[in-house]
């Protein structure tokens, strides 16, 4: 190679990767350099030869396998979503079960006053903390209550969010 031109520019020209005025400069050089014209021709032939080849074909069942794999993966994703939804539903039921008996402390006091609630045990922390700051507290009231329909007493559990001075 006696031509000092960077022949990589020839491939770039062939691929349309050179912008003007660079592309014009390379074309001008090609007009007057037989060596680079020959190289350019070889590059064109090589490109054409490669373009004419075909990739190796995949197995006949490749498409089906991929479609099935995607289906399984997406199915797995949906199953995970269903599982999480189930867990969320159970958590919601547990929260409702715990929260349902929560009534105001006043209601609890009223029940006691009417005698409809007979405390078996009441756990009531002091309404003022050791520093004298009023606290909110929770009554745990385990009572025997008359059933709504039969009047028969059944054990009941009440958690009452209480205000200071209520007890």
């Amino acid at each position: 190679m006696s031509c000092p031109w960077d022949t990589a520019e020839l491939s770039a020209l062939l691929d349309g990767e050179l912008a003007e005025p660079q592309a014009g400069q390379v074309r001008k050089h090609l007009d007057r350099c037989p060596e680079c014209r020959h190289t350019y021709s070889q590059l064109e032939q090589a490109r054409s030869a490669f373009y004419s080849t075909q990739p190796e074909a995949v197995s006949a069942d490749f498409t089906r396998r991929v479609v099935e794999a995607v289906g399984v993966a997406e199915g797995g994703g949906r199953a995970r979503v269903r599982w999480l939804a189930g867990v969320a539903a159970i958590a919601a039921v547990v929260v409702l079960y715990v929260a349902w008996p929560l009534e105001s402390g006043q209601q609890l006091v009223a029940d006691r006053a009417r005698g409809t609630s007979r405390p078996v045990a009441v756990v009531a922390p002091p309404s003022v903390d050791p520093c004298g700051v009023p606290m909110r507290c929770v009554d745990l009231d385990i009572s025997m209550r008359p059933g709504a329909r039969t009047g028969e007493e059944t054990p009941g559990l009440r958690l009452a969010l209480n205000s200071p001075g209520m007890m």
Binding site: S11, E17, L43, A49, F50, S52, A69
Partner: protein, 194 residues
């Protein structure tokens, strides 16, 4: 109705339209498989497994395709990542083997990973010669020809896919074509005379 673009098909797949995925697969599976095979140097079966991983990732993460690049650039970028990860795993295994962690295991030879350059092909003589010449190129050179001449990616897109500078792509393509031309000189010379 005209042929749907790749970008339309991936949107259709996202929307749950049946058949879109199959069309994209049929369009690209052979070339992606070839890309994976040349990138990693594995045999046909393992290359199919890797190509399956590529398509699995593409279709599962279709929502992340933002349309800023062409679909095929994104597809080959995913393929490139899958291959890089595989190569990294292989190199780690090799390091373990060399370090004697896996005593008695045969060391993985680079030659084991190379495709048979002169694989028998039941084609015409010219096609056989061209394929043999292509097979004799380095994997890195075949890859750039595949992306450029089969997939029509720009140098910039190829640089993204292969994670190398544009200048490297330019040089690699040029040397790949010069090598190919040199190997095909007898055939191309006969054709020029005829």
């Amino acid at each position: 109705m005209g042929r749907l673009t790749d970008e339309q098909l991936i949107l259709d797949h996202r929307a749950g339209l049946p058949g879109a995925m199959d069309q994209l697969l049929v369009r690209y599976q052979d070339r992606v498989h070839q890309f994976v095979r040349w990138r990693t140097g594995v045999g046909q079966t393992e290359a199919e497994d890797l190509a399956q991983d590529v398509f699995l990732q593409v279709f599962q993460s279709a929502a992340s395709f933002d349309g800023r690049s062409r679909f095929r650039t994104w597809l080959y970028a995913v393929a490139g990542h899958v291959c890089s990860r595989w190569l990294w795993d292989v190199s780690r295994r090799r390091a373990w083997i060399v370090a004697g962690v896996s005593e008695g295991a045969a060391a993985l030879e680079v030659s084991d990973l190379q495709p048979n350059a002169l694989e028998a092909l039941q084609c015409q003589e010219r096609d056989q010669t061209v394929r043999a010449a292509v097979g004799a190129l380095a994997n890195s050179q075949r890859i750039v020809l595949l992306l450029r001449d089969w997939e029509d990616l720009t140098y910039e897109e190829m640089a993204v896919v292969l994670e190398v500078p544009v200048g490297t792509i330019k040089s690699r393509i040029h040397h790949a074509r010069l090598n190919l031309a040199r190997r095909l000189a007898p055939v191309l010379g006969r054709e020029a005379e005829a």
